[in-house]
């Protein structure tokens, strides 16, 4: 058993020599450490924070921004054990097959493998995030006791299902730090080291291997780690920052020979009140508004998603549309509903209207990127600048999906839809973000198009890997946690093969 160690209390200039150093104690880092607990490898899990929030640690995340307004860089993530699972909402859904596809006519889309490559890891990932039995779209069958699915005519949008991470003793989603700290300290070969900030990754002179990691604490201590292998699992923003800042051998930054590290940053925009859905008979099953707990314990929520066939045919990206709350209809809206319902021969005297929310997928954009700024943090690390973009096409893709939903409601004579936003300023005025940081060390078999290869190994460097959603080359609209944990479990299997 290895109790938590604190980097502040180790003797200065201590040199640690684990088989594997994992940088970051969030969902990826913890999942990887636990998956390798029985591998015989000595694992050092380096976490920048402690076991609870501390503002001086969190401030290390501060940075600057340009472009489209976005969440402050120290605002959408958390820097202590468990990482951003300490504030996640627990929404979970596997990426769909189309999310892995190279999309015709759409630049930068596609993974180097199909969904079936990570499918074998979904069950274990589902268990780690404590999202209950694997149900998802099978809920169509079991949720019928609670009400009918929204009636839609044939077309491109359908009811799909999210599940929720819920711990057995709390309504809160699983916070990986709290939940797995006991497992970490009981694993004989895992050493969790808190308050340990990796400030540089040092390469061999030929830039083919990681030789050592520089570790610093805010209290002024300095350590060195000399691992056989290293996995970066610090989140999509910090992974890029540490690679860019480690520039003594590769002057553009580690893995950045092709100027890709930090590019293709993405998140899921979640603009509010994107549309109003009118149900002519006023009936919408409660599982569209609220979580539904199935008899088997799975906690579900129905959303509306574009079908892969529709996405391919119309060149649109993924999205999920949520039904939020009942809203009143003004006189003009009432006139629209009455006129349409009467034309369809439908009685709309009981009609009710509901606002819709959403989560949108962004198309990959190399100009949406992180770069090092001139400012430095308390550990003398360069701070980041994020240049955020969102294109008119991104909005238009989602608008097409909403229009299709409206068409299908009319075809079924069950309702209709009003689209709230048309102009870019209207979309941006309603914008919020999922805080799902993605894409900055993207995966691609071609080093000119990706930072890591299909095994998550940094191109050209034999013993450096990246875990987490920073490797997602295409993002989908599903929340990333389940998927990044599944991908991390796959990486664990790979590391077992190459390291043992």
């Amino acid at each position: 058993m290895s109790a938590f160690q604190d980097a502040r209390t180790l003797p200065r200039d201590t040199i640690l020599t684990p088989d594997l150093a994992i940088i970051g104690g969030g969902p990826a880092g913890i999942s990887l450490a636990l998956a390798l607990a029985d591998s015989g490898l000595n694992i050092l899990l380096l976490e920048s924070g402690g076991r609870a929030f501390e503002s001086n640690i969190q401030k290390l995340y501060e940075g600057s921004q340009t472009g489209v307004p976005y969440v402050a860089l120290d605002g959408g993530r958390l820097r202590f054990l468990g990482g951003s699972t300490n504030h996640w909402g627990g929404w979970t859904r596997p990426l769909d097959g189309i999310d892995f596809e190279n999309r015709r006519g759409m630049a930068h889309f596609g993974w180097p493998f199909a969904r079936n490559v990570i499918e074998p890891y979904f069950a274990r990932a589902q268990a780690l995030i404590e999202a209950g039995p694997w149900v998802y779209d099978e809920a169509d069958k079991t949720a019928s006791d609670s009400g009918p699915l929204l009636r839609l005519g044939p077309g491109g949008v359908y009811t799909s299902w999210f599940q929720f991470s819920k711990t057995k003793v709390s309504n809160l989603p699983t916070h990986f730090g709290d939940r797995y700290q006991t497992d970490l300290v009981h694993a004989p070969r895992i050493t969790p080291l808190l308050n340990a900030n990796v400030t540089a990754i040092r390469l061999s002179p030929d830039a083919r291997r990681v030789l050592q990691l520089d570790v610093a604490t805010l209290s002024g201590n300095r350590l060195t780690v000399k691992p056989r292998y290293t996995v970066l699992a610090a989140g999509a923003i910090e992974n890029a920052r540490l690679m860019l800042a480690s520039s003594d051998v590769m002057t553009a930054g580690i893995g950045n020979g092709n100027d890709l590290v930090g590019r293709f940053f993405a998140d899921h925009p979640i603009p509010r009140d994107v549309a109003t859905l009118v149900s002519f008979d006023g009936q919408i099953a409660p599982f569209y508004f609220n979580n539904l707990t199935l008899p088997n314990g799975a906690v579900m929520r129905a959303v509306l998603s574009p079908r892969p066939e529709f996405m391919r045919a119309h060149g649109v990206v993924g999205s999920l549309t949520t039904v939020e709350n009942e809203v009143p209809l003004d006189p003009f809206a009432t006139a629209a509903v009455v006129t349409t319902a009467q034309a369809l021969g439908v009685n709309a005297s009981s009609a009710k209207a509901y606002s819709l929310g959403c989560g949108m997928e962004l198309a990959p954009d190399p100009d949406r990127r992180l770069t090092l700024g001139s400012a430095r943090d308390a550990l003398d690390m360069p701070r980041l600048n994020l240049h955020m973009t969102i294109s008119d096409d991104d909005f238009e893709h989602f608008r097409q999906t909403l229009t299709e939903l409206g068409r299908q409601l009319l075809a079924a004579k069950s309702g209709m839809i009003h689209l709230s936003y048309n102009r870019r300023d209207e979309w941006l005025g309603a914008m919020d973000w999922g805080n799902h940081h993605l894409g900055t060390t993207r995966m691609h078999n071609d080093p000119k198009q990706g930072v890591v290869d299909a095994a998550s190994k940094v191109h050209g460097i034999g013993n450096l890997y990246v875990a987490g959603s920073s490797v997602f080359p295409t993002y989908g609209s599903s929340n990333p946690t389940l998927n990044l944990v599944a991908l991390t479990l796959r990486l664990a299997d790979h590391l077992k093969k190459v390291m043992t």
Binding site: G153, P154, P331, F332, A333, T334, A335, A336, V338, T339, T340, Q342, A343, L344, G345, T403, G406, R407, Q408, L410, A411, K413, M416, I417, H418, L419, S420, N422
Partner: protein
């Protein structure tokens, strides 16, 4: 005359008056005649159609062109509105996604 006979007569008169009112739309709102009344009569409730049509008419041609287009295939509004979503013939009016014919009829109502 017995009270029963008086009541029966009264009921009969009221029923006849009600039937006549229904038949000749005595209490329905009447609108000035237009050259498009054959089309506008298909709209169940013209007042909300006029309100909605104010937004629809902005992006559509004038009433005579609209009417000519709607008369061309002779189909009724309900039949059109029911079929059009399945045939992807939809329009967006001030953000509302509606069957194309609903936009056209409403615009016609607003222009007449």
């Amino acid at each position: 005359m017995t009270r029963r006979a008086v009541l029966a007569g009264l009921v009969a008169v009221l029923a006849a008056a009600g039937g006549a009112a229904w038949k000749f739309r005595l209490f329905a709102k009447h609108y000035p005649p237009t050259p498009y009344d054959d089309l506008l009569s298909e709209i169940v409730d013209r007042d909300p159609a006029i309100v909605f049509g104010q937004a629809a008419r902005k992006s559509l041609p004038g009433a005579s062109l609209l009417a000519a287009g709607l008369r061309r295939d002779g189909r009724k509004l309900t039949e059109r509105a029911t079929r059009e979503p399945g045939e992807a013939q939809i329009a967006e009016v001030a953000g509302w996604v509606v069957p194309q014919s609903v936009a056209l009829y409403a615009a016609l109502a607003a222009q007449s």
